[in-house]
């Protein structure tokens, strides 16, 4: 389907905090556009003070998260051809900022909570030697987690935060991924299990997998990160026998 010359309406949340409301904009589309291009076109042609974050325009920096037609996505990696196809003819495409975070202005939200939690996570602790030796298979296990671009779409989607606002009790999927990345590093010797249980509240996660579904980096947040952390907590606090069993059989706990 060609987009060139097509007129398209957008409803974009405009304004600050409580006073923000949807405002309508019409623009003409071009071939190959992504949603972020449309927001920029509106900014350039009609509304220079429209607030939006972006950097790389290639899905690498995680700056441009928003809710497009109600679905949390990166604006720079969402093709207009797809969005036009999913929007009923004649209806406007809706773009809102992420809902779980305090609203700043237009499409910009305050995501500083994620950085504050990150600061409380103990960094890696490994050998003092210069050359660290481990193989590619061991690297593979953690490299997945290190592909996180910190878009915070997972945090925005998680009901523990989005609906129940348990920001003080739960670290959120992004930072659980960070914890998993350290915990599964082949040479790390730090112990983070107590805080994974208490401060970071891994047990609040009830494995709905909503975070995994929206992750643009394709990280298996729930299965590969969170469940592994939960297992460590279970091993330590609830079930020493099961730990022995698992070491022998090398089987994972089934939930």
């Amino acid at each position: 389907m060609g987009l060139k010359g097509k007129k398209q309406s957008f409803n974009i949340l405009k304004g600050e905090g409580e006073d923000a409301e949807l405002q309508s904009f019409d623009i003409e589309l071009d071939e190959g556009m992504v949603v972020l291009d449309c927001v920029h076109r509106i900014q350039h042609e009609q509304q220079p003070d429209l607030a939006v974050r972006w950097n790389c325009k290639a899905g690498k920096c995680g700056s441009c998260s928003a809710e497009i037609n109600g679905r949390p996505r990166l604006m720079c990696m969402t093709r207009m051809s797809d969005v036009v196809a999913e929007t009923p003819e004649g209806q406007a495409i809706e773009i809102r900022p992420m809902k779980a975070f305090p609203h700043v202005k237009d499409l910009v939200t305050d995501v500083s909570w994620n950085y504050e939690v990150a600061q409380r996570i103990k960094p890696i602790k490994g050998p003092d030697t210069m050359d660290w030796e481990f193989n590619q298979m061991e690297a593979d296990r953690v490299q997945q987690f290190r592909e996180c671009i910190e878009c915070f779409l997972c945090v925005n989607t998680c009901h523990v935060l989005r609906d129940h606002a348990l920001f003080d009790d739960f670290a959120g999927p992004r930072n659980l991924v960070r914890l998993a990345q350290y915990e599964m590093h082949p040479l790390d010797t730090e112990d983070r299990v107590p805080e994974i249980k208490k401060e970071f509240g891994v047990e609040y996660c009830n494995i709905t997998r909503c975070c995994t579904e929206v992750c643009p980096a394709g990280i298996q947040i729930t299965d590969d990160a969170i469940i592994q952390l939960k297992e460590r907590v279970v091993d330590r606090y609830y079930d020493p026998l099961q730990r022995i069993w698992r070491t022998i059989t090398r089987q994972k706990v089934r939930y």
Partner: protein
């Protein structure tokens, strides 16, 4: 009318939170200095996050024949012998330790079969040298430094933009910034200021850079009395995306060619074989068979016994070749060349180039494991920047340091791929260390209210106008102009026009109107950036007009080829009485022992090439 502002006091202020800024801040904090880091974006979003291919360091993991002398030689040769040899020496010697240190801070690089950091081939590097993580090495680097940095007691100011450096007599004593979110003003007193603001490539309309790349640090330095060098040298990366229009310029990593990618024209010809310069002729493959054999050997982890494909020539050469093919009517449908990696198969591509696969699939609807990409040159990196002391990274203005892309010297006329990430960590560390050392000896400077107020007045000016042009339009037109008149191929005529155009843009920017709001007003931020862009574009054009030869990232249609005389001269840009000036300086002759090192490496390469040309085994 006086505006309110918040005051802060630090020993060391680092402006920028990319690889260079983070590394500098970590070192300053570790040296005991009270350190702050200021960034226009959120933490972890700086340009560095976009770097793909890898970080160059002679670790000797992938090929034991490598070493600092070979890396030093490659960097000097790639720079067309214009790099500051002292910087190239320090870089080649120190980069390996800086990379290993990243590993201790949690970086997880791809591994060799011996469980060490793996290294890949890149253009201009004699041996496989780039430590990497698939094609997302910059992400690994910035995240590692970020995760280390937040535990070093550095105060981090996110979404603050520095617009002005405070001075006391000759020396720099702090800076003034506005917050992007609220439009509030902040004045920082500092004993040392480190610029780590990255590059200027947003001045061209086809570029691989983000909105941040408006040359803020280059301009701040110039305004504060610092000298810039090498500003005529802008690297046009040969492989940017060309289709669809909205992604034009986005980078396609050189890693694709390092992994065996082939460049062809519309006639299916591997045209790079026709563009091998004399200087590189002996160490590149002459036939498709030889080049295929090289790829086969290298990707299976063996030492190469034949010579590398011409696709891996330095970036300036490949970019100009694609440009010539398009001009000769042999371009791809959207005005580029074809780059094909599909022969490596889906599995290898998904492992080695996952983000390229994703990027083309999502943005262009192309599956690179099955079909070729269309690529063309994109403005990618500026070799020029603040002239610094090689050891300390201090500029000619006391108290003002620079590191990373905003600094200059290491890359001369052309930067080798992978030599930027290693530059950031090597010289970031040095800048932080020396900035802290200086701070140790000084008392806290005061903040002179008059300077702050005049900076604030200037920042508020666009919002106080009655009306005017949308800054976005001026921005677009100026970038198009630079692309057309100061692009890959340059002439005196066009650049003289460009100088006039820039003067006109300067007047227009001073009258634009972005609305009146101070709250997250992107138009206002852009209006302020326009001034930097005019000044750094002028610096680049002025230097380019002066250099009457073609070398590395500077190609003159009216002066083709290198001249011996210009091979010993660098251009220095500076301000005098409010006016931008350029002067020439001779490069310092290389220290004898380094000259010997170069000779040694040259003869090693010649021997090896002779062996390999014989079909080698």
């Amino acid at each position: 009318m006086t505006e309110e502002y918040t005051k802060h006091e630090y020993d060391v202020i680092v402006i920028g939170a990319g690889g260079a800024g983070l590394r500098a801040a970590i070192e300053a904090a570790r040296s005991g200095a009270k350190t702050a880091m200021i960034t226009k974006s959120l933490l972890g979003k700086a340009h560095t996050v976009m770097a793909e291919g890898g970080c160059a360091a002679a670790l000797q993991n992938a090929d034991p024949r490598d070493g600092w002398k070979v890396h030093f030689h490659d960097t000097m040769k790639g720079s067309k012998w214009l790099a500051d040899w002292r910087m190239a020496e320090l870089h080649a010697k120190e980069a390996p330790d800086r990379v290993r240190e990243l590993e201790q801070w949690g970086a997880v690089f791809d591994r060799t079969p011996n469980n060490l950091i793996n290294q890949r081939n890149f253009g201009g590097h004699t041996f496989p040298r780039l430590a990497h993580v698939g094609d997302a090495t910059g992400l690994e680097l910035i995240r590692t430094l970020q995760e280390r940095g937040i535990h070093e007691g550095i105060d981090i100011f996110m979404e603050y933009t520095v617009r002005h450096l405070l001075k006391e007599g000759d020396r720099v004593t702090g800076c003034v910034a506005y917050t992007r979110v609220d439009g509030d003003f902040h004045a920082f007193s500092a004993k040392s200021v480190v610029l780590a603001t990255g590059g200027i490539t947003r001045c061209w309309s086809v570029c691989s850079g983000s909105w941040e790349y408006t040359g803020d640090g280059h301009a701040l330095a110039l305004w504060a009395g610092a000298e810039l060098r090498d500003m005529e040298f802008v690297q046009f990366h040969p492989t940017g995306m060309v289709w669809p229009p909205s992604v034009r310029g986005i980078l396609v990593t050189e890693g694709v060619r390092g992994e065996g990618g082939r460049l062809t024209n519309s006639e299916g010809e591997r045209f790079m074989f026709n563009y091998v310069p004399e200087m590189f002729a002996s160490d590149h493959a002459e036939t498709i068979e030889e080049s295929d054999q090289w790829v086969e050997e290298v990707v299976s982890g063996k030492l190469a016994t034949v010579r590398r494909p011409p696709e891996l020539l330095t970036r300036d050469v490949v970019a100009k070749a694609i440009n010539s093919e398009v001009k000769a009517g042999r371009g791809s449908p959207h005005g580029g060349a074809f780059l094909d990696i599909s022969h490596r198969g889906e599995e290898a591509i998904l492992k080695k180039l996952p983000s390229m696969h994703h990027q083309f699939k999502e943005l262009a609807g192309v599956d690179i494991s099955k079909e070729p990409m269309e690529v063309g040159p994109t403005a990618h990196y500026v070799m020029g920047g603040v002239r610094v002391n090689a050891e300390t990274q201090e500029s000619n203005v006391p108290g003002l340091y620079a590191c990373g892309e905003v600094a200059s010297g290491l890359h001369g006329a052309n930067r080798l791929g992978g030599n930027s990430l290693s530059d950031l960590i090597t010289f970031g560390k040095r800048a932080g260390e020396h900035a802290a050392k200086r701070a140790d000896t000084l008392a806290q400077p005061g903040i002179e209210d008059a300077q702050v107020q005049s900076a604030i007045t200037e920042m508020l000016a666009p919002l106080n106008r009655e009306g005017g042009e949308n800054p976005g339009l001026i921005y677009d037109e100026m970038r198009d102009m630079m692309q057309a008149k100061v692009g890959i191929i340059r002439t005196k005529e066009e650049m003289t026009e460009a100088m006039d155009d820039l003067a006109a843009f300067n007047e227009r920017q001073a009258a634009c109107f972005p609305g009146t709001s101070r709250k997250y007003n992107s138009g206002w931020h852009q209006a302020l950036d326009l001034k930097n862009m005019v000044d750094v574009s002028t610096a680049a054009t002025l230097a380019a007009l002066t250099r009457e030869e073609s070398r590395g990232g500077h190609t003159r249609d009216d002066f083709p080829g290198e001249t011996e005389a210009w091979g010993k001269i660098i251009n220095i840009i500076y301000m005098e009485d409010g006016e931008m000036k350029v002067r020439q300086e001779n490069v310092e002759p290389m220290r004898d022992d380094l000259g010997d090192a170069i000779k040694e490496v040259k003869s090693m390469i010649a021997e090896r090439a002779a062996e390999q040309a014989g079909g080698g085994n």
